[in-house]
Amino acid sequence: METLQNLIFGFQVTLQPINLFYCLIGVLIGTLIGVLPGIGPVGAMSLLLPATFHVSPVGAVIMLSGIYYGAQYGGSTTSILVNIPGEASSVVTCLDGYQMARQGRAGPALGIAAFGSFIAATLAIIGLIFMASPLSNGALGFGPPEYCTLMCVGLVVLTFLAQGSMYKGLMMALFGLLISYIGLDLFNAKPRFTFGAQELQEGVGIVPLVMGLFGISEILLNLEQPLRREIYKAKIKGLFPTFQDWMDAKGAILRGSLVGFFLGILPGGGAVLASFASYAIEKKFSKYPEKFGTGVIEGVAAPEAANNAAAQASFIPLLSLGIPPNVVMALLFGGLLIHGIQPGPLLIQKHPDLFWGVVASMYVGNMMLLALNLPLIGMWVRVLKIPYHLLFPLILLLCIIGVYSVNNSTFDIYLMVLFGVIGYFMQKFDFEPAPLALAYVLGPMLEVSLRQSLIMSEGSFLIFIHRPIPLVSLLLIVGLLIAQIFSYWRKKRHVPGASALGTI
């Protein structure tokens, strides 16, 4: 009953005209950047972060989260019609989505992607409502050792699940931690790694770092490999899937939602992993796995449901524990801090308008997305026709404006360019930027909790073993590392000469 009352309160917050406006702007921008290959939700969110400084915290979070889940909807459009994933989480949708379009079934593919996403998002929001509160109540008893080890788990899981090598992922996480130490020491205000630069006293800003790593570097990479787009030209009809389509896709949507929800909660998980995992599971469950990749509707429904469920579920660890599970949530975490709100177990109690408002806005936002993505599909197809060579100067300008307007400092522009170059070379050398960004955000919290733990235990690391949650977390970390090493040795036995770092 209390939950229902809270939810009604949330809808009262969301349905205020100004918050509805922010929600609409968020999902509209999310769909746009989802449709456009070349800029992801992280880039778009960091771009809009400075613009939200003048907005209320609730409005800001409603808009920023709208971008994230909106991008999941938009990404499928590009995958189905152009065979280029608009987002990383829509890569697998290309496999069957584009084949369906080639067979003249672009309408049902787009339809099932949108309806499947909507159903998955609805289920995930229900899960969010019932899980976040008990989790945050439980987290009230957490001390520095619990937080320290949970954050370590998040970092290790992220590197474990990364597309490339775990070894390189761990190196990136350590590099991200080193960057996070730049600035004043949180314990005694002593400057660290600032090299006398006044601008570095407050540390490296999250906006120049993320914008450089994910925005500028992406543009630099795209400029050397122009994206070829062959847009599906026939008229799109029959957006509402047939009864048979629904029958075929219903199991895939439900399984995709479940997989997405649990992988979304997992630290280091998120929409990308969820879409890949759900496609693999669907193929395994299918009576005709050999048909996957030739245009089966389950191959579109499952990953699209999963990426949306994961996008909603990843809010759970952020809003209830104060631990961002992925880079997008890390950015939202930064946004909340800028607004003076500390994400954590007390957030639901201290800022019920924010928590319940955001939850309700997700539902409203998903309904808006359904309206935006189906009847207005023609508009998004036209957007797709904008050539990249005209688009990239605009994206660069938006990056500069976004970075400059945080502190009105040209130093931040230089930092963004520097991280853009670093990100470009990192991707060239197969280092992923995501562990770096997440470690950078978790760095200060991780350091504080580790130092506090050591002070509490008078220098004994046994504090991490004597408590149940840190012990389980440490065992999980060790287990993951052993699993990875074991998998390497197994591969090496089968493929002599396989290299250690490349596989681990």
Binding site: L174, F193, H389, F392
Partner: protein, 164 residues
């Protein structure tokens, strides 16, 4: 796109030697700086203790990567990927230079003038658009940006010598 360059992920390459070397240097320098900050005691960690631990771990991993790449190169076990095969160095340098130049001249020339110059440069030199399209598009972008960010959102951008 990030995931497009992944077919070679999971292979050990000569490039790992250079990236390992880079991270070794960065992490070792960080170790020295962390020691200078003061490590304190384990019971009461100083400002440099945690950064030192992080940098030391990164050093070990980077050195491991360098050694491993040397061993792999010796055995010539795997095909080497040419990391910068597709890199257009001229475009890369020009874009980075243009962005840096934007930062250098922003305060002096003002938001509108420097934005117009940047857009003109990118559209003409990088995108190779004809002059008329370059100038018209740049003008439209500047007007749009001015309307949204200066007029509507009230962002305090520098006006520079021109005063707009």
């Amino acid at each position: 796109m990030a995931w497009m360059g992944k077919p070679f992920a999971g292979q050990m390459k000569n490039s790992d030697f250079f990236s390992g070397l880079f991270f070794s240097l960065v992490s070792m320098a960080s170790c020295i700086l962390a020691v200078q900050l003061g490590l304190g005691k384990i019971q009461k960690p100083g400002s440099g203790l945690i950064p030192f631990g992080t940098a030391a771990l990164l050093s070990l991993m980077s050195i491991g990567m360098v050694f491993r790449s040397l061993l792999t190169a010796k055995k010539k076990e795997e095909p080497q990927k040419k990391v910068f095969q597709s890199t257009r160095w001229k475009t890369l340098t020009l874009v980075i230079g243009a962005l840096t130049g934007y930062g250098v001249f922003l305060n002096f020339l003002g938001f509108t003038v420097i934005t117009f110059l940047l857009m003109t440069f990118l559209l003409r030199v990088i995108s190779k658009q004809p002059w008329w399209r370059t100038l018209v598009t740049s003008m439209l972008i500047v007007l749009g940006a001015y309307f949204i960010f200066v007029f509507w959102l009230d962002c305090p951008f520098p006006k520079g010598i021109v005063g707009i």
